[in-house]
């Protein structure tokens, strides 16, 4: 016991610290942050469905074929998870629902699960929220008392029934969900990682940021520290939870970045068509073509943005968002 503490007491009142009076920023390059994502890791994706998804970072993961991933996410996902699965990079998903809503079911997800290539764990939103809460709060588990009668509980790998210390009915406990790397997309950050995000699903980003071991955020725009300090109540994730920030304009495309641009339904439809053509065998090459065109070949975000419609398209999506 005494020994253990000896080292940390090796200090001197007059010890000189580096006279490094400038605060260091958390701004990083795409290469730098994607280097933090290792094959086989637990990857947590922010946003939900087609809103606030870190798609540009996901494209970089696909481009580098970082595989064998266990994927966590906001409780409903679509495009980006289907893309990762289509590229063969996913081992298992811990996502309650995966869908393209009005476009249809998720083609690569369906094909991979029905073909036994991906294990789609069965769980619900309370499991995700509770598991993230446990990790975010530093608790060994989180209680869930609202799961009754559903077959989900027979298969959910993260929960366990137990007798609670108060109350007269057995309930469930979910173990902590702590992704190795969390990728988020937000509208704005200052250079130190004080994040502002918007939209219906930002609360899941707040949970993921606190639950994840390494948290990387792509933002449409880096703003000044003064901008953040002017209204600290608008900061949705304080800098202390964030490891790296990457500025990627339109980094959520084709999903929405609430307050800046709406989701690009046309592009999502184009993707869905390609993936569905492959799934049904009507055009086995269609999805590979999509991957090459939009993920592998573009050498920069700007080239990608040109391919999806350039300024004309982006202005249109921004306009749509402003008219909300």
């Amino acid at each position: 016991m005494g020994q253990l503490h000896t080292d940390s007491r090796q200090f001197s009142d007059t010890e000189k610290f580096g006279k490094n009076r400038e605060r260091t920023t958390k701004i990083a390059s795409v290469d730098e942050v994607v280097g933090l994502i290792k094959p086989g890791c637990k990857l947590g994706l922010g946003g939900a469905l087609h809103e606030s998804r870190p798609v540009a970072l996901v494209r970089e993961v696909v481009k580098r074929r970082i595989g064998d991933l266990s994927v966590y996410s906001g409780p409903v996902a679509g495009y980006d998870v289907d893309l990762l699965i289509g590229a063969g990079l996913v081992k298992e998903t811990f996502i309650p629902a995966i869908t393209f809503e009005s476009h249809g079911l998720a083609p690569n997800f369906r094909e991979a699960v029905e073909g036994g290539l991906v294990k789609a764990h069965i769980l619900d939103v309370l499991t995700v929220v509770g598991g993230l809460m446990a990790a975010a709060l530093g608790l060994p588990f989180f209680p869930i008392a609202a799961l009754k009668g559903t077959d989900e509980v027979k298969y959910n790998p993260l929960i366990k029934k137990f007798t609670p210390p108060f109350g007269d009915e057995d309930i469930y406990a979910v173990q902590p969900i702590a992704p190795d790397v969390v990728l988020l997309h937000a509208a704005e950050s200052d250079p130190f990682g004080n994040i502002r995000n918007y939209g219906a699903f930002r609360s899941v980003d707040q949970l993921l940021a606190k639950a994840g071991k390494t948290v990387i955020v792509s933002v449409d725009k880096i703003v000044s520290p003064e901008t953040i300090m002017q209204d600290p109540y608008r900061t949705t994730i304080p800098c202390v939870y964030i490891h790296k920030v990457v500025e990627i304009p339109y980094g959520a495309h084709p999903t929405a970045s609430p307050s800046i641009y709406s989701m690009d339904d046309d592009h999502i439809a184009e993707y869905w068509q390609a993936a569905e053509l492959k799934r049904t065998g009507r055009n086995p090459e269609a999805f590979g073509g999509y991957l090459r065109r939009y993920v592998d070949e573009p050498e920069s975000i700007y080239r990608y943005l040109e391919l999806v419609g350039g300024m004309r398209k982006l202005v249109e999506l921004e306009k749509e968002e402003r008219q909300l």
């Binding site: 939900a48 469905l49 087609h50 809103e51 409780p75 409903v76 309650p96 629902a97 995966i98 869908t99 809503e101 009005s102 079911l105 998720a106 997800f109 369906r110 699960v113 029905e114 036994g116 789609a120 069965i122 619900d124 939103v125 309370l126 995700v128 929220v129 509770g130 809460m133 008392a145 609202a146 799961l147 009754k148 009668g149 559903t150 077959d151 989900e152 298969y155 009915e169 939209g199 219906a200 699903f201 930002r202 609360s203 899941v204 707040q206 949970l207 929405a256 609430p258 909300l324």
Partner: protein, 256 residues
């Protein structure tokens, strides 16, 4: 007659709206154009104190009909936005009602949105759903299958995503399901409710232009049929006018 021009999904929304009472709380999730229409219609017609809440947004007032809470145009005119922790709490405490569609619905009102075949190797993997609790913790819920055929209306669902009456009163009590559970199942052909003793699905009324035989032919289980089955009360002029002019001016429901 207005009701003749009424699309089945419009009628479904109107029937559901009629059952919502003033002062209640309710919500629907994603892919839910019919429930959304029902809720906004009820608020305009007879339930100004009905609150949409529990699912990330409180009392939105969208300019037209959207299918999903995940479409943030749906959030227009909201009074508050909530987070997933509030959703967690609301899911435990329950609302007055909730809605579910399904890839399979069985004679006890159990809902399958997950898969066909086995869990280990499904022959079909559905979208699943995020919230399996709201229907259970809320006082009641409504079923609104978008098609009425034998692939949807099955004797027993392959997977219980959301429990209805399970396998009847005993199993329901054993599972600790103490709320009403499914109250109505409103399909494009008919309105069903549940027999209070057996908790099995029962025909209640058939929509204008359809027959009991047609309903039975498209139902994959023994539907309870009372001696007298009325025609579903058609939409009033006001119901249809408010639905089309105020709730769904862009005709989302008519496009189904």
């Amino acid at each position: 007659m207005m009701s003749l021009a009424c699309k089945p999904v419009e009628l479904m929304a109107i029937i559901l709206a009629r059952d919502i009472r003033d002062g209640e709380k309710g919500a629907a999730g994603i892919a839910a154009a019919v429930p959304n229409a029902a809720m906004f219609l009820a608020r305009r017609l007879h339930a100004p104190n009905f609150s949409i809440c529990g699912e990330l947004v409180v009392n939105p007032k969208p300019k037209c009909l959207y299918a999903s809470v995940s479409d943030h145009r749906y959030h227009y005119g909201a009074e508050a936005e909530e987070g997933f922790l509030e959703l967690f709490g609301s899911s435990h405490k329950g609302l007055d009602f909730w809605f579910h569609s399904g890839i399979q619905i069985d004679k006890y009102g159990n809902v399958n949105l997950h898969l066909l075949g086995s869990v280990e190797r499904p022959t079909f993997r559905g979208p699943a759903l995020a919230n399996v609790s709201f229907a259970v913790t809320s006082k009641r819920f409504y079923l609104y299958p978008m098609v009425h055929n034998r692939r949807v209306f099955v004797d027993k669902v392959d997977f219980i995503s959301v429990p209805g009456n399970l396998q009847g009163p005993e199993s329901k009590a054993m599972a600790g399901l103490r709320n009403e559970g499914p109250r109505l199942c409103v399909s494009p052909l008919a309105v069903m409710d549940f027999d209070p003793v057996t908790l099995r699905m029962r025909l209640r009324s058939v929509h204008e232009g359809h027959t009991v035989d047609e309903v039975l032919a498209n139902t994959g289980f023994d539907l309870i049929v009372p001696d007298r089955v009325p025609i579903t009360e058609p939409p009033t002029e006001e119901e249809l006018r408010v639905l089309r002019e105020e709730v769904d001016p862009n005709g989302l429901l008519r496009s189904y």
